[in-house]
Protein backbone atom coordinates (compact mmCIF):
# COMPACT_ATOMS: atom_id res chain seq x y z
CA UNK A 1 0.00 0.00 0.00
CA UNK A 2 2.81 2.36 0.96
CA UNK A 3 4.35 2.01 -2.48
CA UNK A 4 1.25 2.92 -4.46
CA UNK A 5 0.35 5.80 -2.11
CA UNK A 6 3.28 7.91 -3.33
CA UNK A 7 3.24 6.74 -6.92
CA UNK A 8 5.18 9.79 -8.12
CA UNK A 9 5.64 9.23 -11.78
CA UNK A 10 6.76 6.02 -13.40
CA UNK A 11 9.78 4.12 -12.12
CA UNK A 12 12.38 4.44 -14.90
CA UNK A 13 14.13 1.11 -15.33
CA UNK A 14 17.78 0.61 -16.23
CA UNK A 15 17.26 -1.42 -19.39
CA UNK A 16 14.90 1.24 -20.75
CA UNK A 17 17.58 3.94 -20.46
CA UNK A 18 20.49 1.78 -21.64
CA UNK A 19 18.38 0.38 -24.47
CA UNK A 20 17.51 3.87 -25.65
CA UNK A 21 21.19 4.86 -25.49
CA UNK A 22 22.31 1.91 -27.59
CA UNK A 23 19.55 2.51 -30.13
CA UNK A 24 20.61 6.15 -30.41
CA UNK A 25 24.24 5.22 -31.02
CA UNK A 26 23.22 2.75 -33.71
CA UNK A 27 21.03 5.33 -35.41
CA UNK A 28 23.84 7.90 -35.32
CA UNK A 29 25.97 5.36 -37.10
CA UNK A 30 23.21 4.83 -39.69
CA UNK A 31 22.99 8.57 -40.24
CA UNK A 32 26.75 8.83 -40.75
CA UNK A 33 26.82 6.00 -43.28
CA UNK A 34 23.94 7.58 -45.17
CA UNK A 35 25.69 10.92 -45.27
CA UNK A 36 28.95 9.37 -46.51
CA UNK A 37 27.11 7.83 -49.52
CA UNK A 38 28.57 9.32 -52.67
CA UNK A 39 25.37 10.32 -54.44
CA UNK A 40 27.21 11.03 -57.70
CA UNK A 41 28.23 7.37 -58.07
CA UNK A 42 24.72 6.04 -57.55
CA UNK A 43 23.01 8.62 -59.74
CA UNK A 44 20.04 7.15 -61.53
CA UNK A 45 18.72 9.66 -64.01
CA UNK A 46 15.03 9.58 -63.15
CA UNK A 47 15.68 9.57 -59.41
CA UNK A 48 16.94 12.54 -57.38
CA UNK A 49 19.26 10.49 -55.14
CA UNK A 50 20.50 13.51 -53.21
CA UNK A 51 16.97 14.41 -52.13
CA UNK A 52 16.30 10.84 -51.01
CA UNK A 53 19.53 10.82 -49.03
CA UNK A 54 18.56 14.05 -47.30
CA UNK A 55 15.07 12.82 -46.43
CA UNK A 56 16.43 9.50 -45.12
CA UNK A 57 18.92 11.32 -42.90
CA UNK A 58 16.23 13.60 -41.52
CA UNK A 59 13.94 10.60 -40.96
CA UNK A 60 16.60 8.85 -38.86
CA UNK A 61 17.03 12.08 -36.94
CA UNK A 62 13.26 12.11 -36.38
CA UNK A 63 13.34 8.52 -35.08
CA UNK A 64 16.17 9.45 -32.72
CA UNK A 65 14.11 12.43 -31.55
CA UNK A 66 11.14 10.17 -30.85
CA UNK A 67 13.34 7.74 -28.90
CA UNK A 68 14.73 10.54 -26.77
CA UNK A 69 11.33 12.06 -26.05
CA UNK A 70 9.54 8.78 -25.44
CA UNK A 71 12.11 6.98 -23.32
CA UNK A 72 14.69 9.39 -21.96
CA UNK A 73 12.06 12.08 -21.26
CA UNK A 74 9.53 9.51 -20.10
CA UNK A 75 6.62 10.64 -22.25
CA UNK A 76 5.86 7.02 -23.01
CA UNK A 77 4.91 6.33 -19.38
CA UNK A 78 2.96 9.50 -18.53
CA UNK A 79 -0.46 8.66 -17.13
CA UNK A 80 -2.09 11.93 -18.25
CA UNK A 81 -1.66 12.94 -21.91
CA UNK A 82 -1.07 16.56 -20.86
CA UNK A 83 2.70 16.72 -21.23
CA UNK A 84 2.45 14.81 -24.48
CA UNK A 85 0.05 17.41 -25.94
CA UNK A 86 2.35 20.25 -24.82
CA UNK A 87 5.28 18.54 -26.53
CA UNK A 88 3.32 17.74 -29.69
CA UNK A 89 1.67 21.16 -30.07
CA UNK A 90 5.13 22.69 -30.28
CA UNK A 91 5.72 20.91 -33.54
CA UNK A 92 2.26 21.74 -34.86
CA UNK A 93 2.94 25.47 -34.44
CA UNK A 94 6.43 25.14 -35.93
CA UNK A 95 5.00 23.20 -38.88
CA UNK A 96 2.48 26.01 -39.49
CA UNK A 97 5.26 28.58 -39.24
CA UNK A 98 7.57 26.82 -41.72
CA UNK A 99 4.79 25.87 -44.16
CA UNK A 100 3.33 29.36 -44.51
CA UNK A 101 6.75 31.09 -44.63
CA UNK A 102 7.81 28.54 -47.24
CA UNK A 103 4.56 29.24 -49.13
CA UNK A 104 5.71 32.85 -49.32
CA UNK A 105 9.42 32.59 -50.00
CA UNK A 106 9.29 29.77 -52.54
CA UNK A 107 6.31 31.06 -54.53
CA UNK A 108 7.40 34.65 -54.89
CA UNK A 109 7.50 35.85 -58.48
CA UNK A 110 4.91 33.37 -59.79
CA UNK A 111 3.20 36.11 -61.77
CA UNK A 112 6.12 38.46 -62.26
CA UNK A 113 9.48 36.61 -62.17
CA UNK A 114 11.42 39.82 -61.55
CA UNK A 115 10.22 39.77 -57.92
CA UNK A 116 12.53 36.88 -57.20
CA UNK A 117 15.87 38.46 -58.12
CA UNK A 118 18.37 39.81 -55.60
CA UNK A 119 19.87 42.82 -57.40
CA UNK A 120 23.11 44.68 -56.64
CA UNK A 121 23.66 43.21 -53.18
CA UNK A 122 27.26 43.14 -51.96
CA UNK A 123 28.26 39.67 -50.69
CA UNK A 124 31.31 39.64 -48.41
CA UNK A 125 32.34 36.38 -50.08
CA UNK A 126 35.12 37.70 -52.34
CA UNK A 127 35.33 34.90 -54.96
CA UNK A 128 33.66 36.02 -58.19
CA UNK A 129 30.64 33.66 -58.37
CA UNK A 130 28.64 32.96 -61.47
CA UNK A 131 25.48 34.10 -59.76
CA UNK A 132 23.97 37.33 -58.62
CA UNK A 133 27.04 39.24 -57.48
CA UNK A 134 26.26 42.90 -57.89
CA UNK A 135 24.67 42.85 -61.37
CA UNK A 136 21.92 45.39 -61.84
CA UNK A 137 19.62 43.95 -64.44
CA UNK A 138 16.95 46.20 -65.85
CA UNK A 139 14.10 43.67 -66.30
Amino acid sequence: MEHSENELGHLTTKNMVVGAYVALLVLTGVMLCLSRLNTAALSVDWLDVHAIKVTLIMLTALVMGVIISMFLMGLRYESKLLNMTIFASNFVFLLIFVLFTWADTSFRGEIDPTFNQHINFVSPVKAEPAGAQGHSVAP
Binding site: A20, L24, I68, F87, W102, F121, S123, V125
Partner: protein
Protein backbone atom coordinates in the same frame (compact mmCIF):
# COMPACT_ATOMS: atom_id res chain seq x y z
CA UNK B 1 11.84 16.43 9.28
CA UNK B 2 12.11 12.64 9.24
CA UNK B 3 15.74 11.79 8.66
CA UNK B 4 16.62 8.47 7.02
CA UNK B 5 19.07 6.14 8.72
CA UNK B 6 21.45 5.69 5.77
CA UNK B 7 22.64 9.19 4.95
CA UNK B 8 21.23 11.25 7.78
CA UNK B 9 19.82 13.78 5.27
CA UNK B 10 16.43 15.42 5.93
CA UNK B 11 13.44 14.29 3.88
CA UNK B 12 11.66 16.70 1.59
CA UNK B 13 8.45 18.33 2.88
CA UNK B 14 5.72 19.54 0.54
CA UNK B 15 5.53 23.34 -0.04
CA UNK B 16 2.68 25.01 1.94
CA UNK B 17 0.59 26.05 -1.07
CA UNK B 18 0.39 22.52 -2.43
CA UNK B 19 -2.14 20.04 -1.06
CA UNK B 20 -0.15 16.84 -1.67
CA UNK B 21 3.23 15.59 -2.87
CA UNK B 22 1.55 14.21 -5.98
CA UNK B 23 0.14 17.66 -6.83
CA UNK B 24 3.55 19.24 -6.27
CA UNK B 25 5.29 16.64 -8.44
CA UNK B 26 2.74 16.99 -11.25
CA UNK B 27 2.93 20.79 -11.12
CA UNK B 28 6.72 20.82 -11.22
CA UNK B 29 6.80 18.35 -14.07
CA UNK B 30 4.18 20.25 -16.10
CA UNK B 31 5.98 23.54 -15.39
CA UNK B 32 9.22 22.02 -16.69
CA UNK B 33 7.48 20.70 -19.79
CA UNK B 34 6.01 24.15 -20.52
CA UNK B 35 9.45 25.71 -20.11
CA UNK B 36 10.84 23.09 -22.49
CA UNK B 37 8.01 24.00 -24.89
CA UNK B 38 9.18 27.62 -24.96
CA UNK B 39 12.76 26.42 -25.54
CA UNK B 40 11.62 24.19 -28.41
CA UNK B 41 9.72 27.12 -29.97
CA UNK B 42 12.85 29.30 -29.66
CA UNK B 43 15.11 26.75 -31.35
CA UNK B 44 12.27 25.83 -33.70
CA UNK B 45 12.18 29.38 -35.05
CA UNK B 46 15.92 29.11 -35.81
CA UNK B 47 15.33 25.78 -37.54
CA UNK B 48 12.59 27.45 -39.61
CA UNK B 49 15.07 30.16 -40.61
CA UNK B 50 17.60 27.46 -41.55
CA UNK B 51 15.04 25.44 -43.55
CA UNK B 52 13.81 28.52 -45.43
CA UNK B 53 17.43 29.47 -46.20
CA UNK B 54 18.07 25.89 -47.27
CA UNK B 55 15.20 25.96 -49.77
CA UNK B 56 16.15 29.42 -51.09
CA UNK B 57 19.91 28.82 -51.51
CA UNK B 58 20.65 25.06 -51.51
CA UNK B 59 24.05 25.57 -53.19
CA UNK B 60 25.27 27.87 -50.41
CA UNK B 61 24.01 25.37 -47.83
CA UNK B 62 25.82 22.47 -49.47
CA UNK B 63 29.06 24.38 -49.96
CA UNK B 64 28.95 25.66 -46.38
CA UNK B 65 28.29 22.29 -44.76
CA UNK B 66 31.01 20.58 -46.82
CA UNK B 67 33.55 22.71 -45.02
CA UNK B 68 32.22 21.57 -41.64
CA UNK B 69 34.11 18.69 -40.04
CA UNK B 70 31.61 15.86 -39.54
CA UNK B 71 34.06 13.88 -37.44
CA UNK B 72 33.98 16.51 -34.68
CA UNK B 73 30.19 16.57 -34.96
CA UNK B 74 30.09 12.81 -34.42
CA UNK B 75 32.31 13.00 -31.34
CA UNK B 76 30.03 15.71 -29.97
CA UNK B 77 26.99 13.56 -30.64
CA UNK B 78 28.63 10.70 -28.80
CA UNK B 79 29.46 12.97 -25.85
CA UNK B 80 25.90 14.30 -25.59
CA UNK B 81 24.25 10.88 -25.91
CA UNK B 82 26.53 9.43 -23.24
CA UNK B 83 25.83 12.30 -20.87
CA UNK B 84 22.13 11.70 -21.61
CA UNK B 85 22.66 8.08 -20.53
CA UNK B 86 24.39 9.06 -17.29
CA UNK B 87 21.62 11.57 -16.50
CA UNK B 88 19.06 8.77 -17.02
CA UNK B 89 21.06 6.57 -14.63
CA UNK B 90 21.17 9.45 -12.15
CA UNK B 91 17.34 9.55 -12.15
CA UNK B 92 17.17 5.80 -11.57
CA UNK B 93 19.63 6.15 -8.69
CA UNK B 94 17.62 9.03 -7.21
CA UNK B 95 14.40 7.03 -7.36
CA UNK B 96 15.97 4.18 -5.44
CA UNK B 97 17.55 6.50 -2.91
CA UNK B 98 21.20 5.72 -3.75
CA UNK B 99 22.61 9.22 -3.05
CA UNK B 100 26.21 8.25 -3.97
CA UNK B 101 25.21 6.84 -7.36
CA UNK B 102 23.35 10.07 -8.07
CA UNK B 103 26.47 12.10 -7.35
CA UNK B 104 28.64 9.82 -9.48
CA UNK B 105 26.32 9.99 -12.48
CA UNK B 106 26.00 13.76 -12.19
CA UNK B 107 29.79 14.14 -12.20
CA UNK B 108 30.04 11.85 -15.25
CA UNK B 109 27.40 13.90 -17.07
CA UNK B 110 29.26 17.12 -16.30
CA UNK B 111 32.49 15.59 -17.64
CA UNK B 112 30.93 14.47 -20.90
CA UNK B 113 29.19 17.83 -21.30
CA UNK B 114 32.49 19.67 -20.82
CA UNK B 115 33.96 17.31 -23.40
CA UNK B 116 31.30 18.51 -25.80
CA UNK B 117 32.23 22.14 -25.11
CA UNK B 118 35.95 21.43 -25.62
CA UNK B 119 35.31 19.90 -29.03
CA UNK B 120 32.98 22.78 -29.86
CA UNK B 121 35.73 25.26 -28.87
CA UNK B 122 38.21 23.50 -31.14
CA UNK B 123 35.73 23.70 -34.02
CA UNK B 124 35.19 27.42 -33.48
CA UNK B 125 38.94 28.04 -33.33
CA UNK B 126 39.22 26.16 -36.64
CA UNK B 127 36.52 28.35 -38.16
CA UNK B 128 38.19 31.55 -36.93
CA UNK B 129 41.44 30.30 -38.41
CA UNK B 130 39.77 29.65 -41.78
CA UNK B 131 38.10 33.07 -41.56
CA UNK B 132 34.65 31.62 -42.20
CA UNK B 133 32.94 33.95 -39.73
CA UNK B 134 29.51 35.52 -40.21
CA UNK B 135 28.85 38.68 -42.17
CA UNK B 136 31.29 41.52 -41.76
CA UNK B 137 33.94 39.36 -40.07
CA UNK B 138 34.16 37.07 -43.10
CA UNK B 139 37.57 36.69 -44.70
CA UNK B 140 37.40 33.11 -45.97
CA UNK B 141 38.91 32.10 -49.32
CA UNK B 142 38.02 29.58 -51.93
CA UNK B 143 34.24 29.94 -51.60
CA UNK B 144 32.05 30.45 -54.63
CA UNK B 145 28.46 30.93 -53.53
CA UNK B 146 27.58 34.56 -52.62
CA UNK B 147 25.29 33.38 -49.78
CA UNK B 148 27.74 31.14 -47.95
CA UNK B 149 28.38 33.79 -45.26
CA UNK B 150 24.69 33.57 -44.33
CA UNK B 151 25.09 29.81 -43.81
CA UNK B 152 27.94 30.45 -41.41
CA UNK B 153 25.92 33.20 -39.73
CA UNK B 154 23.16 30.65 -39.07
CA UNK B 155 25.75 27.98 -38.09
CA UNK B 156 27.25 30.22 -35.42
CA UNK B 157 23.86 31.39 -34.10
CA UNK B 158 22.44 27.87 -33.81
CA UNK B 159 25.47 26.08 -32.42
CA UNK B 160 26.30 29.08 -30.22
CA UNK B 161 22.82 29.17 -28.66
CA UNK B 162 22.93 25.37 -28.27
CA UNK B 163 26.36 25.61 -26.65
CA UNK B 164 24.96 28.24 -24.25
CA UNK B 165 22.20 25.79 -23.31
CA UNK B 166 24.81 23.06 -22.74
CA UNK B 167 26.55 25.47 -20.39
CA UNK B 168 23.25 26.19 -18.57
CA UNK B 169 22.66 22.43 -18.33
CA UNK B 170 26.09 21.96 -16.74
CA UNK B 171 25.28 24.76 -14.29
CA UNK B 172 22.03 23.01 -13.35
CA UNK B 173 23.87 19.72 -12.83
CA UNK B 174 26.41 21.33 -10.52
CA UNK B 175 23.57 23.06 -8.64
CA UNK B 176 21.82 19.68 -8.30
CA UNK B 177 25.10 18.02 -7.26
CA UNK B 178 26.20 20.59 -4.67
CA UNK B 179 22.98 21.99 -3.23
CA UNK B 180 20.29 19.35 -3.63
CA UNK B 181 22.20 16.08 -3.46
CA UNK B 182 23.81 17.06 -0.15
CA UNK B 183 20.82 18.74 1.51
CA UNK B 184 17.85 16.47 0.90
CA UNK B 185 17.50 12.66 0.69
CA UNK B 186 16.33 11.51 -2.72
CA UNK B 187 13.94 8.59 -2.63
CA UNK B 188 10.86 7.21 -4.24
CA UNK B 189 8.78 10.07 -2.86
CA UNK B 190 11.11 12.93 -3.85
CA UNK B 191 13.52 12.92 -6.82
CA UNK B 192 12.19 16.00 -8.65
CA UNK B 193 15.41 18.06 -9.01
CA UNK B 194 17.28 15.20 -10.72
CA UNK B 195 14.23 14.39 -12.85
CA UNK B 196 13.88 17.98 -14.08
CA UNK B 197 17.59 18.42 -14.82
CA UNK B 198 17.46 15.12 -16.75
CA UNK B 199 14.44 16.41 -18.69
CA UNK B 200 16.27 19.65 -19.54
CA UNK B 201 19.35 17.71 -20.60
CA UNK B 202 17.30 15.36 -22.77
CA UNK B 203 15.95 18.45 -24.55
CA UNK B 204 19.51 19.67 -25.18
CA UNK B 205 20.19 16.22 -26.67
CA UNK B 206 17.01 16.41 -28.77
CA UNK B 207 18.01 19.79 -30.24
CA UNK B 208 21.52 18.54 -31.05
CA UNK B 209 20.08 15.39 -32.69
CA UNK B 210 18.27 17.63 -35.18
CA UNK B 211 21.02 20.26 -35.41
CA UNK B 212 23.80 17.77 -36.23
CA UNK B 213 22.34 16.31 -39.44
CA UNK B 214 20.84 19.61 -40.59
CA UNK B 215 24.18 21.44 -40.51
CA UNK B 216 26.79 18.73 -40.86
CA UNK B 217 25.41 15.79 -42.81
CA UNK B 218 23.09 17.20 -45.47
CA UNK B 219 25.89 18.95 -47.46
Amino acid sequence: MATTATTGLPEHHVAHHFDSAQQEFDSNKMGMWLFLASEIMMFGALFVGALIFHTLHPAAFNEGSQHLDWRMGTINTFFLLTSGLTMGLAVIAAQSGRQGAVRLNLVLSILFASGFLVVKFIEYKLKIHHGTLPGRLWHGEGFHDPYVHVFYGLYFVMTGLHGLHVLIGMGLMTWCLIFRASSVQFNRKYFTPVELVALYWALVDLIWVFLFPLLYLIG
